[in-house]
C-alpha cells in the first residue's frame, strides 16, 4: 500500500510538471509559432508600444525558452518579480500570472472566487451522490417496475436537459414564482443562512444533471454485480439481503462511481460556467467568462492552470481511495 502511495504521488508530481509545461506551451509557444505578438496579447488591444515593450521585457520573452519555462514554473511555487520597462512588479507565490490590464496579480483575484466554486461543486456532489446512487440502486433492485421506469425517464431528462434551461426553470419557479428563495448570492462570511439560501438552487440544478448520470451508471453496475458469483456466495452463507446488497454489492459498485466522481469534481472545480452564469455566482467560471470578454489572457491562463491542478488532485485522491476499496489495485 505504501509503495502504491509513493508511486502515485511520484506520478502526480511528474504530471504536475507536464501540465505546467503544456500550459506554458499553449500560451507562449504556440502563439509564437503562429506569429502572434504575445506581449501585445497580454497587454490588450489599445496598448501603446512602450507598454507592450515593457511587458515583453517583464515576461522575459526575449530570453531562451528554458529560462522562460523556469521563471513561469518558479512563479507558481516561489513567486516571481516582473522587471522591465522601467518598473518592477512583484507577484507573490503562488503566482499564476499577472494581469497587466487590471494591474493586479491573478491569484488574489481568484482566491475569493475559488471557495464559491468549490462550495458549489462539493455541495452538488453530496446531493447527486445521495440521490443518484440510491435511485440507481433502487432501480436495479426493482428492475422493470414502475419505479425503475419512472426513475430512468427522469434520469434521461436530467441528462439531456441543458443546465441553463433547468437553471432558469428553477429560478422562475422558486425565486420569481413562489418566492421561496432570495436568488442572490450572499458571501458565507456575511450570513450562513443567506449563503445557504443562495446556494441551494445552484446545488440542486447542478446535482440534477449529475444525479441523473450517476443513477444510470449505478443501476447498470449494480445489475452486473448482482449477477456475480460472489454475491451468490454471500447469500449462500446465510447473509441477510440488506447485507448482501449494502456491503458486498455496494463495495463493488463504488469503484466505477469513484472514477467518475474524480473526473467530474476536478472538472467542476475549474468552474461550472453555465451554473455560475445562470445564478450569477461569483465563481471561477464567471471569472473566465469575464476574462474572455475582456481578452485578459493572464486570467485565462491562471484559471486553466488551476483547473488542471484540480483535476490532478482529484484524480490522486480517487486513485488512493480506489486502492483502499480494491486490494488488487495496490499491486498494479
Amino acid at each position: 500500500m505504501l509503495a502504491y502511495l509513493i508511486r502515485r504521488l511520484f506520478a502526480a508530481a511528474v504530471m504536475l510538471v507536464v501540465i505546467v509545461m503544456v500550459v506554458f506551451g499553449i500560451f507562449f509557444l504556440i502563439p509564437k509559432w503562429a506569429g502572434v505578438d504575445i506581449a501585445l496579447s497580454f497587454v490588450g488591444k489599445q496598448a501603446d508600444p512602450a507598454a507592450v515593450e515593457g511587458v515583453r521585457e517583464k515576461l522575459g520573452l526575449g530570453d531562451p525558452i528554458y529560462a522562460q519555462v523556469w521563471e513561469f514554473f518558479k512563479g507558481i511555487f516561489a513567486g516571481r518579480t516582473y522587471t522591465g520597462g522601467g518598473d518592477s512588479i512583484h507577484c507573490a507565490a503562488p503566482c499564476f500570472g499577472y494581469s497587466f490590464r487590471s494591474e493586479q496579480a491573478v491569484w488574489p483575484t481568484l482566491t475569493d472566487r475559488f471557495p464559491v466554486t468549490l462550495a458549489l461543486a462539493l455541495g452538488a456532489a453530496v446531493l447527486w451522490l445521495i440521490f443518484g446512487v440510491s435511485a440507481g440502486v433502487l432501480s436495479a433492485l426493482k428492475r422493470g417496475s414502475l419505479w425503475d421506469r419512472g426513475a430512468m425517464v427522469i434520469a434521461l431528462s436530467g441528462v439531456s436537459l441543458p443546465i441553463y434551461f433547468t437553471g432558469m426553470l428553477a429560478l422562475s419557479v422558486f425565486v420569481y414564482g413562489l418566492d421561496l428563495f432570495d436568488g442572490q448570492f450572499v458571501p458565507l462570511e456575511d450570513s450562513f443562512s443567506g449563503w445557504f439560501g443562495g446556494m441551494i438552487l445552484p446545488w440542486v440544478t447542478l446535482a440534477f444533471l449529475y444525479a441523473a448520470m450517476y443513477a444510470r451508471i449505478t443501476r447498470a453496475t449494480m445489475l452486473e454485480i448482482l449477477g456475480e458469483d460472489y454475491i451468490r456466495t454471500a447469500r449462500a452463507k446465510g447473509l441477510k439481503e440488506q447485507t448482501v446488497i449494502g456491503k458486498h454489492a455496494m463495495r463493488s459498485t463504488m469503484t466505477p462511481l469513484l472514477t467518475m466522481l474524480g473526473m467530474d469534481l476536478g472538472a467542476l472545480i475549474g468552474g461550472a460556467i453555465l451554473t455560475e452564469t445562470a445564478f450569477s455566482l461569483p465563481g471561477l467560471g464567471q471569472a473566465v467568462l469575464n476574462a474572455i470578454k475582456n481578452q485578459d489572457l493572464p486570467v485565462i491562463l491562471g484559471v486553466t492552470l488551476i483547473t488542471s491542478l484540480a483535476v490532478l488532485v482529484a484524480n490522486l485522491v480517487v486513485d488512493i481511495l480506489y486502492a483502499v476499496i480494491d486490494p488488487r489495485v495496490r499491486l498494479a
Binding site: 508511486r7 511520484f10 506520478a11
Partner: protein
Amino acid sequence: MSDDEKAVKIPAQADGPTEQGATLTEDAAPGEVLLKVTGLQKHFPIKKGLLQRQVGAVHAVDGIDFEVRSGETLGVVGESGCGKSTMGRLITRLLEPTAGKIEFQGKDITHLGVSGMRPLRRDVQMIFQDPYSSLNPRHTIGTIVGAPFKLQGVEPEGGIKKEVQRLLSVVGLNPEHYNRYPHEFSGGQRQRIGIARALALNPRLVVADEPVSALDVSIQAQVVNLLDDLQQELGLTYVIIAHDLSVVRHVSDRIAVMYLGKIVELADRDLLYKSPMHPYTKALMSAVPIPDPRRKNAKSERILLKGDVPSPISPPSGCRFHTRCWKATEVCKTTEPPLIELRPGQQVACHHPENFADQAPQDTVLLTVAKEAAELVADEVLAESAETSAALAAEVAETASEPTASTEAEAEADEAAESAEAVEPAEPAKVEVAEPVEPVTPAKAEAAEAAVAEAAEAAGAAESAKAAKGESAESAESAASAEATDAAGSEGQESNGK
C-alpha cells in the same frame, strides 16, 4: 439437423481447392517430418512503472524441440500455465517466437512476416477452444467458412458457395444451413463450423487448441470421432493441445507432456501410458479420476503432488519439476536434464526416471522437498517404482559384463565404492536396453527383489559416504564410473555420469 453421428461421408476431393491454388511445396510422404521445432522459446516481457521498464519475463515456452511427422497426431498435454497454448500459437505463427527455429516442410518460417506467411496459412490451420467466441456472430456460416477462400484469393471450382456446402456436409452439418448465423447452432455444431473453416483450404497441418474441452461429454465424442474420420480421409496431420489426458490418449499417436514451458516427456502413446518415465507424467496420469466406483478405494495408486505449479516468471533451477518431485536429488536442483531418447520412441528429460534405469545413480540423497513430497505418495507406488528400476538394473547387470569391483579403492572408501558399484551398473542400461522393455518375468522379479534390498543398502551407504565424501570417496566413485563407462562403450555417458 444432420449432426447425427453417422459415418461421415467425405464427398469426392477431386474438385477440391487444392487443384486450383498451387500448393507451397510437394506433399510430404506419410511419416516424413512436416514440422520441426528446435529450441523454441517465447518470453512475454513484464513491464512495470511509468517508464514501462522490463522487470522480468514470463517464460511461457522455454526451449522445446520436437517434430511432427506427416499423417500423425501429436498430442500436447499439460496443466494450465505450462505453455502448451503458447506453443500452439507459435507453430501457427500467430505469435512471434523469442528464440528458436520452426521449419515447416523444410522451410524456415520462424520469422516470416504477414505476407510471407500468407501462402503458408493455407497449409497450417488452427481450431480454437471456444466455439462461442471464435465465430463472428454477425457473419453467416457461409461467410465464415468461405472467408479463407476470399483471403487467399482462391476460387474453388463450382464457386465458393458450392465448396462451402461441401465442407459443411463433410463435417456433418446440413449444407442448407449456409445462411444461418452462429447463434442458431449448438456448441458441438459450432465446433464443427470451426473445423469446416479450418479445412477449407485443404491444409496439411491442423493445430487444435482444446478442441473439445468446452463441449459436453456426449458432444465431445462426436467431435473426437469427426477429427478421427477427417484425418483418415484427408490424410491430415494434427497437433492437438488439451488438458484432458483421456482425450489426448484417444486421439494421439505421440504425446508431448509439458511442464512450465518445457517438454518433460515425448513418447509414443502406448509407451507413455503404459510406462511413463517422467515422474510428472506419472503423477499427471494417476491424478485423472477413474470412472469406476469399484476402484474408488484404490487411492493408493494415486500420486498427489504437493502444492502448485511454480511461477513461470522465475522457474525453478535445474529440473523444473524438482520442487514437487518425490525423487528429486541434488543433481535435479543444479542440472537441467536434457530431453533424450531413453527407449526407442520415448524421450524423457529426467535424472531419475520411472520405469527405467536411473540416469544419475550416484546422486541418491533426496532433497528435503522430495522427502515431503514422498509423504504424499503411497508406499506401494514408491515400492513399485523402486522395483521396476531395480529390476531393470538387475536385468542389465545380468547381461552386461560385470564391471570389476574397484578393489584398488582405498580402505576408507570401501563403503562408498560398494554403493557406487551397486548402483553404477545401471548406467549402461541406457544403451543396452535397446529393445522395448519386457514386463518383469517371475524369475526376474526374484532377482529384482534382491536388487531392491541391495539398492536400499546402497542408498544408506551412499548417504553416509556422501557425508564423508573426501577425495578418496570421490576417486573411488570416478574409478567405478569410468569402468562402467568403458563397459558401456559410450562417450556420451561420461558427461551424464558426472
